[in-house]
């Protein structure tokens, strides 16, 4: 007689939980952006409540310039080391981009071409073109080259790797521009905060747009024009925002009392950051879904 054995487990098996081995790039970028956005608002209104001593103003401005880097370390670089499958080249990419920005990008635009000197009196359309080329295509091309020759081929395992590495280049480039700004101009902290926020935002949004092109050309089969198209689009947005901020948000000369419209400037920057971040999240998710559908589709 066959004995019947019915096993009874003391601890029944639980449903297997899917573990995501990478650091979540979007969560990091959104946390960094939120921190910088709130900090900018605080520093903009700080002089209303607290008088910052002149001797401390420069140090406060330097601290604000380093804030994007500190936020990146806290939300991206340190969590990366704790991930199961870390992106190992984050720090080299950051350092290399900072060196390239300091040695090529900044001197080319601000010292050799001296764009700010001869572009300020131009017509609106000319300004957009000049700013698109100088403050858009030049930095985006340099950041692209850093990514292309360091991590693009074998470190881009998923689309989110493109976001993480591109954000690193953006923060590195922005940190160099911001430090140069506070050391060269010695601005008061509230003005510095707004300018640093604007610079960082444009670098991050530009890099996210180019990241989409880089991820697609690596993991999919788009047109060869996608990456240059994304570089152009990112640069055009930079050019338009630069011109808008200069023409609409800054102080105007006139017979009546005029004042810098800092809130307006801040609002434009927040809208650009939010709008482009949402658009890129949508684009990346759509691309990811299409990629999964293509893999599972037997007719594909």
């Amino acid at each position: 007689m066959e004995s019947q054995f019915k096993s009874q487990l003391i601890a029944p098996p639980t449903q297997e939980e899917e573990v995501y081995p990478y650091r979540r790039a979007w969560a990091s970028i959104l946390s960094e952006s939120a921190l910088i956005t709130v900090a900018t608002l605080v520093f903009m209104f700080l002089p209303v409540f607290v008088a910052i001593p002149a001797a401390l103003a420069q140090w406060v401005a330097i601290a604000i310039a380093l804030l994007p880097f500190i936020a990146w370390c806290a939300f991206s670089w340190i969590p990366e080391s704790r991930a199961q499958a870390p992106r190992n080249r984050m720090l080299p990419v950051f350092i290399l981009t900072a060196l390239v920005a300091n040695a090529i990008g900044y001197p080319l635009v601000y010292r050799v071409l001296q764009v700010e000197l001869w572009s300020s009196q131009q017509e609106l359309v000319n300004k957009v073109v000049i700013y698109t080329l100088a403050f858009g295509i030049v930095p985006e091309s340099l950041k692209y080259l850093v990514l292309r020759y360091t991590v693009w081929l074998n470190q881009f395992r998923t689309r989110y790797d493109a976001i993480a590495y591109s954000a690193a280049t953006a923060i590195a480039y922005a940190t160099v521009l911001n430090l140069r700004y506070v050391f060269d101009s010695t601005p008061p902290p509230d003005i510095a905060a707004l300018r640093i926020f604007g610079t960082t935002t444009l670098q991050v949004t530009g890099s996210l747009i180019v990241a989409y092109g880089l991820a697609e050309i690596r993991l999919s089969k788009p047109s060869p024009l996608l990456v240059p198209g994304m570089v152009t689009l990112a640069s055009l947005i930079t050019g338009i925002v630069f011109t808008l901020r200069g023409n609409i948000a800054n102080t105007r000369l006139g017979l009546s009392v005029s004042y810098p419209r800092t809130i307006f400037n801040y609002a434009i920057t927040v809208m650009v950051l939010g709008g482009i971040a949402l658009a890129m999240i949508f684009l990346f998710q759509t691309a990811e879904k299409q990629s999964i559908e293509a893999e599972t589709d037997p007719n594909a």
Binding site: E16, E17, E18, V19, Y20, P21, Q84, A85, L108, L113, Q114, V115, L117, W118, S119, S120, Q121, Q122, V129, I130, L133, A134, I137, V138, S141, L142, Y144, L145, R148, L153, N154, F156, R157, I217, R218, L219, K221, P222, S223, P224, L225, L226, V227, P228, V231, T232, S235
Partner: protein, 204 residues
């Protein structure tokens, strides 16, 4: 516990033709942007406005958006200044002095130096030498410098060292003096504009 698999097949050793072309076009875009910027800068900086003075027989082309001032001729015929500059405003000036057949460039420069030494702080003449520019007239140049301070005593500004250059050409009955005054720090950059200004100056 399941771990999302890292796809080994994504490790790619070679670049596809599509990826290669994408890279070439992006690099070309960057290079093109810099070339266009250099060209735009040259066009904008060499853009000029015309000044005509029939009484004195002078036609000049000065940098666009600079401020033009005319005088009755006692101090100068006309001068243009770059008001966009922070601090000392670079100025180009054309003036005329009556001369006779015995007057030489040296005597005019000496007279100018005496006059400036009385009016300008720490005026120093650096050199007098033949003009070697590409304008089609014979001339002599004098280089000098002085210290300029803001005339408003309540303005918190640091005095600046100003470098000047006079180009003097003698005609039958008058000496035409073309002057540039610039902050010493930006003198070399402004000298390029001044050379363009002198080359396009027509004296009848």
């Amino acid at each position: 516990m399941a771990v999302i698999e890292i796809l080994d097949e994504l490790t790619q050793d070679t670049i596809t033709t599509r990826q290669r072309w994408s890279h070439y076009i992006t690099v070309a875009l960057g290079i093109l942007a810099v070339v266009i910027l250099i060209n735009l800068r040259a066009n904008i900086q060499s853009a000029a406005s015309q000044y005509v003075n029939n009484a004195e027989g002078i036609t000049a082309y000065y940098p666009q958006n600079w401020l033009l001032e005319e005088s009755d001729g006692t101090d100068y015929i006309f001068r243009v200044s770059n008001l966009r500059e922070i601090g000392f405003k670079t100025t180009f000036q054309v003036s005329v002095e009556p001369v006779n057949q015995l007057t030489t460039s040296r005597t005019i420069f000496d007279a100018l130096s005496m006059q400036r030494a009385q009016n300008l702080t720490a005026f120093r003449r650096l050199s007098i030498e033949p003009y070697t520019g590409s304008a089609d007239f014979e001339a002599t140049t004098a280089n000098y410098l002085y210290v300029a301070t803001d005339t408003n005593p309540f303005q918190q500004s640091v005095p600046v060292v100003v470098r000047g250059i006079d180009i003097l050409t003698l005609t039958r009955d008058q000496a035409v003096i073309i002057t540039m005054l610039s902050n010493a720090d930006t003198f070399e950059e402004n000298l390029v504009l001044f050379e363009q200004f002198v080359n396009r100056l027509e004296l009848r």
